[in-house]
Structure formats: C-alpha cells, structure tokens
C-alpha cells in the first residue's frame, strides 16, 4: 500500500481489526442457532448469515495480513478477549430468538451503512471488498426487516418481546459507533468517514423501520463503549475458548 504512510497504516489496521472482529464474533453467535432455529428456514438463515460473516471476517483479516499482521487463522484463533476489538453488542449470548433477531437487525443495518460508505474508500483493497460485502449484507437486512415487522406487528406477546429486546440491546448497539483514536487520520487519508457520521445514517435507517412497527426507541440510553479498546463483557472469553478449542489442540493440523 504505497499511498499509506505509517500513521495511515496504523489507523487502517485499527479500523480493520474492529470490523473483522465484529464479523467473526457475530458469525460465531449466529452459528449457535444451527440446529436450534424456531423454524427450519430460520435455522438455515442464521447459519447462512453466520457463514457469510465468518467468510467476510477472513477477507478482512487477509487485508490485515497484507499490512503486516499475522495470518488470518493465527489472528482469529490465538488472541484472548482483551486483545479483541469487537463491540460488546456482538459478544452477548444469543438469548431467546427475539433478542438475536433484534441484535441482527441493528447490527446488520450498521454494517450495511458501513460497507456502503467504504465502497468510496481511498483504500482500494477495502473498497473492493466493501462492494462485494454490500450485496451480501443486503440479504441479511431484507431478512431482518421481514421478521422484525412480522413479529412486532403480530400479537401482543410478539410486540412486547420485540420492545423488551430493543430496550436491552439499544445501548449496546450505540456502542458499535465508539469513536476510534485514529478517526482524524482515517478521515484525512480518505479511508473512512468516521463513526459519528455513520451513526447518523444508521439512526435514520433503523428509526424508519422501528417507527413503522410502533416500537419505541429508548431515549435516555448511554452507549456502552469499551469493546473497541479490549474491555469486554464476561461472555467473550468463554466464546473464544469454545471457538478456538480445535485450533488449540493442534495448531498445525491441516483441514
């Protein structure tokens, strides 16, 4: 990447790590619905989205590798919780289906906005990837829209459950947009437009659907920050232990 100076490379790494880690961890959580979905089609949908997310994380880790970090497997499978840059939102346990669905809606809408924006990034490798991811994530957001609408506009129990999940998840969803310490560098280099700007676009999009479903957005929530700097809930380390179990037994295994 010869158009990067060293400061730009550090800033790009920071951005890539948080996106890749978000994708890997939400992918792992989504995969926990495999075999347990409330309907066969939902089981398949969450499993497919898990596969998309984990595949996407690998390509982001590959970009990091090009910038001098270790290879994708090493980065994904050998770090502890405090070395992960994912938002706390993605590491929360799957809970009941309404919880997972609401998280999926808020998170995937954020990704849709993020990758749309990154298609215009001056970092060409990232822009190329973003163009591809954007098309895949479109299916995720269509899926989320369809089900949030269906459940929130269904019977009283559905509406109450969706509202209760929204209340619980909202502060964590705001935490996706925790400003990074390299934001100015990223903006100056034309790599990324910044979290605050993305948050504005995301709010507009999610408010539209939540309003259409008569769900109330909590007004006095403070964002839950910390994930981007390695401060996590107690739920992340057990997830990593499980995810890395096979790799830890024999890192040299070929499969």
């Amino acid at each position: 990447m010869d158009f990067f100076n060293e400061k730009h490379v550090e800033a790009a790494k920071d951005l890539l790590y948080k996106m890749a880690d978000d994708q890997l961890i939400i992918g792992h959580r989504n995969s926990e619905w495999t075999g347990l979905g409330p309907l066969l089609e939902e089981d398949i949908a969450f499993s497919s989205m898990a596969q998309d997310k984990i595949g996407q994380s690998e390509h982001l880790y590959n970009l990091l590798h090009e910038l001098g970090e270790a290879d994708a497997d090493t980065v994904a499978f050998t770090r502890n919780a405090n070395q992960f840059h994912c938002s706390q939102l993605v590491e929360l346990p799957i809970g009941e289906y309404d919880f997972s669905l609401m998280r999926h809606f808020l998170f995937d809408m954020a990704e849709a906005v993020r990758f749309e924006s990154l298609t215009h990034s001056g970092y060409e490798g990232l822009a190329n990837i973003a163009r591809k991811f954007k098309g895949e994530i479109k299916y995720h957001t269509m899926h989320a829209h369809a089900w949030v609408k269906q459940l929130a506009n269904g019977n009283d129990e559905g509406k109450a459950r969706m509202q209760s999940s929204l209340n619980e998840i909202w502060p964590f969803a705001l935490g996706i947009f925790e400003p990074g310490q390299h934001e100015d560098t990223l903006k100056e280099a034309g790599i990324f437009e910044g979290e605050e700007s993305l948050k504005g676009k995301w709010l507009k999009e999610v408010t539209q659907l939540l309003n259409a479903c008569n769900l109330q957005i909590p007004t006095d929530s403070k964002p839950v920050f910390g994930g981007r700097t390695g401060n996590h809930t107690p739920h992340l380390q057990p997830l990593l232990d499980e995810m890395c179990e096979v790799y830890s037994i024999d890192p040299s295994a070929d499969w």
Binding site: E41, I44, A45, S47, S48, M49, Q51, D52, K53, I54, G55, Q56, E58, H59, G125, N128, I129, R131, K132, F133, G135, E136, K138, Y139, M142, H143, A146
Partner: protein
C-alpha cells in the same frame, strides 16, 4: 496458447457444489495473463464465505498444469472485480437449470426482495411460485415452492 484457449481448457473445471456449471460460465474467471510460459489466472469469489474458494483455485491450477502441461501457473483470488450473477453466461444459466436450480434474474445493480418472489419453477416452468427463504443450503441459493407442480425448489439468488 492464448487467453481463449485457456478459457476453453477451463470449461472442464466445474463448480464443486453445482457440477453442471463451469468456472468460466459462472463468470468467476476475471483475468487471464500470459507471459511467455507463465500463466496467471485471477478468480473472484461468488460469495465471500464460499467454502469452495480454495478448492476452485486448486482445480483451476491442476487443470492447466496436469492436463495442459503448462509449467508455471499462478491462480489468485481477489475482489478487484465484483462478481454479480449478471456475469453468468447464457450457457451457464442453462447449466443451472439442468441442475434443478432456477437461474438468477438480471438486476439493475440493487436488490429488493421481489426480485426473488416470482422465480419460475425449474421443473414445470410455472410462475405461480413463492419465496420461502432467501437463504438455502448454500450461500448462493434461495428456497422456493411451486404452487403448480407442488414441489419445493432452489434458486440461484441474484447478487
């Protein structure tokens, strides 16, 4: 050896998950460079999480090295070209049908769910079908049901 002959040889390399379609007709071979006896083939992924990526690279390489006998072949995968289902050739669309998969409809660069909703049934051709889920047994497929011949079927979803 020309770009055309390389593409002809690669017609024999089929998608491991849809063995009726070749990598060329699927549209994932995006570049062939020939420099003396060195050949470089660039592939682009259909879906970022497609588990067949590594296998495809190997199949393409093996075909050119072992069958054609080219000494130095490099196969790489990148996102310089964004694959879309509009890159599937006419032959490729027929090949999907042969495998019982409804071919993807062309789309104008953006997707709405209704692009999937009236997919013609690959068995009886009826348009009286419904979308069951945009997610199927592989990342590239959606699930549908035909109200005419009463069979479930899969479609290759537009991206």
């Amino acid at each position: 050896m020309t770009e055309t002959s390389i593409l002809e040889w690669l017609q024999a390399v089929k998608d491991p998950e849809i063995p009726t379609i070749s990598v060329v007709d699927l549209g994932i071979v995006t570049k062939v460079s020939i420099n003396d006896d060195n050949v470089e083939v660039t592939l682009t992924p259909t879906f970022a999480g497609c588990p067949a990526l590594k296998i495809l690279e190997k199949l393409v390489k093996d075909r050119l090295v072992e069958y054609v006998g080219i000494g130095n072949v490099e196969v790489k995968t990148n996102f310089e070209t964004t694959w879309t289902t509009d890159m599937i050739s006419e032959e490729g669309r027929k090949a999907l049908l042969k495998h019982g998969l409804a071919p993807p409809k062309p789309h104008p660069g953006y997707l709405e769910l209704d692009v999937l909703s009236d997919t013609p049934c690959p068995y009886c051709g009826s348009r009286n079908t419904e979308l069951k889920s945009p997610f199927g047994p592989t990342l590239c497929r959606s699930l549908h049901y035909c109200n005419n011949c009463l069979q479930a079927f899969e479609g290759f979803k537009p991206v």
